[in-house]
Amino acid sequence: MARVASALFSRLVIIIPYAWLLFFFLIPFFIVFRISLSQTAVAMPPYTPVFDLLGGVSGIIEKAREFSFDNYVWLTEDVLYFNAYVSSVMIAAVSTFLTLLIAYPVAYGMAKAPKTIRPTLLMLVILPFWTSFLIRVYAWIAILKPEGLLNQFLLSIGVIGQPLIILNTNWAIYIGIVYSYLPFMVLPIYSSLEKMDHTLTEAALDLGCTPFSAFWRVTFPLSLAGVVAGCLLVFIPAVGEFVIPDLLGGSETLMIGKTLWNEFNANRDWPVSSAVATILLLILVLPIVYFQNAQAKADGEGR
């Protein structure tokens, strides 16, 4: 009896979340892919019917004949989409690099801080993550505007003669991404630096390394797992970012998340937005699988 209950309990623990994620996370991707192969129609929902299960096997085969790659052909014909993919990846890559440059010294300083204040510093890094993403992006508009706070400040101390144009350029997007995703980069780097055996650096210094080369040849390689995790946590969502390019970027800024949003909301073209999403997913599938493996490995080590 107890054994039956035990088996049932362990089954349920696995099955309930498993079934939920299968239904609400995995299956939807197949629907996206399927709809990307259908035609736009003036109806609600705005695409030709997808499945006709009542028609049996022959009905499914019949439907399969109607699969069309028109939407994908359309994506290759209009150079706008290609440019949007390329510029999304470029912007995400530059932003990830900038985030790393800023986050590493912060994480390094935190790991070197006295043990007593480390929990407070950690709390301070996590706190902005809890405040709204939208609000934090919005806060930058007032700062970066031509008559905004940054320009007022720089003009008053005489560094610049006339206002800098930052808002609605790619620079504003870089700032927005670096700012929004900074905690995601700091936390994994900090946790790998904190775990590190400090005597290794001391040994390198004792053996005549300069502080810089001790850092570059001992500390940095040992923190690489954290750096990689942080970069993936920033890069992957940044490629598909919508809010930041929409609020801080200009009209000429092309990012695929914004293209998808417009295709869906303004043009109401669901099949084309599905095709855009499918290709975006294909671009990101390698980094995502890499991230999952890194994460699973980290859990294994924690045991």
Partner: protein, 272 residues
């Protein structure tokens, strides 16, 4: 770890300044007398008073809070189960796929999650609105809960559980008597995280919403597109305040429980 150099302190101060300055400025300018958010014209709370007369905004806030309470609670149950499945049962068929599905939503661009959930809801003929937003929020926040709870479970001494099972407790009883009390702080912070993620979400809500269900971020977004106003600063300040109080309370509760546990453990050791 070694000495805390001037460079370390400077990078921390600059890093935290960068993180906090924009939020501080936003809060300051919510108390600005002038309609301009960039020129200070004196202290005033009139923008807050105006919020109370904005019925559409209050309705949106109410929808958002209901979605967040409901979805965070369901996500906490599902996320805790997922964490248990990942940590306790290292071997079951399809475990790779399962762990993949738990980690992928953490980095998945929101536009993809939002679009795919919408197409699912349309395919199964669900009316879009309050319930579809809630289901969508449960799905993406449960994975964050799972990661938070999982890290606590990994540092958990399993021998206590094994002792309870050896002494004849059923797995269900063991879970509620032993495991849950120990991981409770992590479960609670998972809930708070799910709640704030739901409260903040714009993109997934926009895709999965229907007529009559407008959330606060959607409302804020539509106003932000028209320009920066002190009124939006005021809403944002209230939201930041609510979240900050929630997080501080959560961390105090967690600390107290951990301190209590440490005391109990020490007392137990002292007796043996």
């Amino acid at each position: 770890m070694g000495n805390w150099s001037r460079f370390n302190i400077a990078s921390i101060v600059l890093g935290f300044g960068f993180l906090y300055l924009p939020i501080v400025l936003l809060v300051i300018f919510s108390f600005n007398e002038s309609k301009l958010v960039t020129v200070w014209a004196g202290f005033s709370t009139k923008w807050y008073a105006q919020l109370w007369h904005n019925q559409a905004l209050l309705d949106a806030a109410w929808v958002t809070i209901r979605v967040a309470l409901l979805s965070a609670t369901c996500a906490t149950v599902l996320g805790t189960l997922a964490a248990l499945a990942l940590v306790r049962y290292t071997r079951f068929r399809g475990r790779m796929l399962f762990s993949g599905m738990v980690y992928a939503p953490l980095v998945m661009p929101e536009v993809i999650t939002g679009l795919s959930l919408l197409l699912l809801f349309v395919a199964i003929g669900l009316d879009r609105g309050f319930w579809t937003i809630t289901l969508a929020h449960i799905t993406f926040t449960m994975c964050f809960v799972a990661v938070v709870v999982q890290s606590r479970l990994l540092s958990f001494d399993q021998s206590i559980e094994e002792a309870a099972l050896d002494l004849g407790a059923t797995p269900v009883r063991t879970f509620f008597a032993i495991t849950l009390p120990v991981i409770a702080p992590a479960v609670f912070s998972g809930w708070v995280l799910a709640f704030t993620l739901s409260l903040d979400d714009l993109v997934i809500s926009s895709f999965t919403t229907g007529p009559g269900a407008t959330t606060l971020p959607m409302k804020i977004y539509s106003q932000v597109r028209l320009g920066v106003t002190p009124e939006i600063n005021a809403i944002c300040t209230i939201l930041i305040g609510v979240v900050a109080i929630g997080v501080v309370v959560a961390s105090i509760v967690t600390k107290q429980r951990e301190a209590q546990r440490d005391r109990d453990e020490r007392a137990a050791f002292a007796q043996t």
